[in-house]
Symmetry: none
Subunit: 186 residues, 4 copies
């Protein structure tokens, strides 16, 4: 019978240390100590550091639960607002570390990658928003939603990795470029 208390303590400790020190410096021993738990209890339920992070992600312990774009009826501004929200998150001191660590974790662990792809990326609320826009006639019916989703999130990832500071208006330019050609209000 698995102990829910231990599970929560472990995920909490993981999230705390991950945000603080990054994926590379996250250690199972550190998590065990921080959680007040035996190492074996971690190894019993998670095969790897990556799986631990993936589950934190799933539980919303690393990123705000609702990170997707809102729906105010205007896709363009919704997407811009969303990207700027993310930029802001990254601009914070720990935010950049956290974000890059998530990318590192995704690069090294399939679980994290899938979880992240599903939560930030294509399958997610972003796709939902795009579909809504299409239904509302804001976007053409042949809009390549997956590609657009990947372009938007990808640009953010690339900027975060490249340590490129956000420039005013860059989210607007990005959104305009990416959905400009499929937008019906052009």
């Amino acid at each position: 019978m698995r102990s829910e208390a231990a599970r929560r303590a472990i995920l909490g400790a993981t999230a705390r240390l991950f945000a603080l020190r990054g994926y590379e410096h996250l250690t199972i021993e550190g998590v065990a100590a921080e959680a007040g738990v035996g190492k074996q209890t971690i190894y019993r339920w998670w095969p790897s550091k990556g799986a631990l992070v993936a589950e934190c992600l799933l539980e919303g312990l690393l990123l705000p639960e609702r990170l997707g774009p809102r729906d105010t009826g205007d896709v363009r501004s919704d997407l811009i607002a969303w990207l700027e929200e993310i930029d802001e998150l990254i601009e914070q001191p720990l935010g950049a570390t956290l974000f890059r660590s998530l990318v590192a974790a995704a690069a090294e662990n399939v679980d994290v990658a899938r979880r992240l792809y599903g939560s930030l990326g294509a399958t997610s609320s972003l796709t939902g928003r795009l579909e809504a826009a299409m239904a509302a006639g804001e976007l053409r019916s042949d809009t390549p939603m997956q590609e657009i989703g990947e372009a938007l999130t990808g640009a953010t990832v690339v900027r975060a990795l490249g340590r490129v500071p956000a420039t005013p208006g860059s989210s607007r330019r990005l959104v305009n470029a990416v959905i400009g050609s499929v937008s019906t209000d052009a």
Copy 2:
């Protein structure tokens, strides 16, 4: 007097092991052994694993020297061809590992990130190609080149991380979406 032979052996070993095992499992001891070199010789000239990888990148030991898009006079097809070339590279068994490891390395090391951003991304030959297209009148003069560069490479990165298999036509759809609105032939 620095030994060029040792330097080459070290970088070669790094590139080999990096492509084979990934960034996470790359160890200085492993590189030293593979290169037939004392560990100190590595530490004497490189401060970290990341720096080692960054220099490999610079020397073209990890990625093909000329990875940017060609210039046939048609930006659209040039970009599509370029993305498909990268997709092909990623499709190969070791290619995916290599690519993801590069992302992991970039996430954890500034040097690698800058090098990679400059070689795949915005500052690079990609930007050059876009500028040429603008000059040739293929793209409008207000084209946000940096954002477009980030969107294109970012989409590729996201797909590689998400382990999303390439779909036929997805490169075309991506390019059309991203430069569609600034393309003068629309």
Copy 3:
């Protein structure tokens, strides 16, 4: 209500694993698994690994029930025969391990020590045999029985620990030396 079946299974498993792997590598978990028993059932009734072994000893699960010297009317030859019997036991591959493990267990656990001392050593059938010999006039009345008992068993222990192979005649020489001076037939 203590389960006799469990008790027997546990002691049996202990004896088997002890003879097989030795005292040091005997584990409670191993015993529980081998016996098909919960660990708690062991801890409920025995305080330690040593107590487990001690009880096996008491039950005759580790050493032949009747290990003492026989009484044919001739102490000398009875003692020699007895020592040679033990030598034979030790000569067998598992016998040496078993014997040394018993010594190790005795060194680390009082219960085992007392049990073993009482079963091999002074208080035991050996003393009984010596007393009989004294009564029969084979040994002088001032024979220091405890010391003789300790010398005989001790020599065996020392040889077993020192991994000294038995030499023909060494039991005879030992007995002659040890009881020579108190033997009335000299």
Copy 4:
């Protein structure tokens, strides 16, 4: 190039902890910590806990350098004095633990056993003393020295294991019994 400082620190720590806590509770990690040394430095040079103890024994860090019987010209009293010296050593609080731990170590490790057998037992100064006595005509020329040595040390071992407190005169009785029949002064 092996560090002599580390070697000494390790053996010293081993001896200290062994005498203090006994063989069973001696841990490599404890020795490493006590010696201020990395674990790997221990594993690099010694294959096991037993080898560590054996080397301590060899270096005289566990037992007084000269533990054998003296030669005053009278074997009997020399042997008695020697046994009483050992009894005294065992009577001390840490002495008993140390002695039993040595036996446990010998039971579980060949190296320790050989070392101990050679240092306390037959091959040792004890045999030397007996030979001298034989040469001096105190003992008969057919004295079975190995057996006598084993009987004397063995009796001590058995008493120590059995936690039998030393009785006044028991060393005298033991010696008289064991060498009584080969002593020429009878």
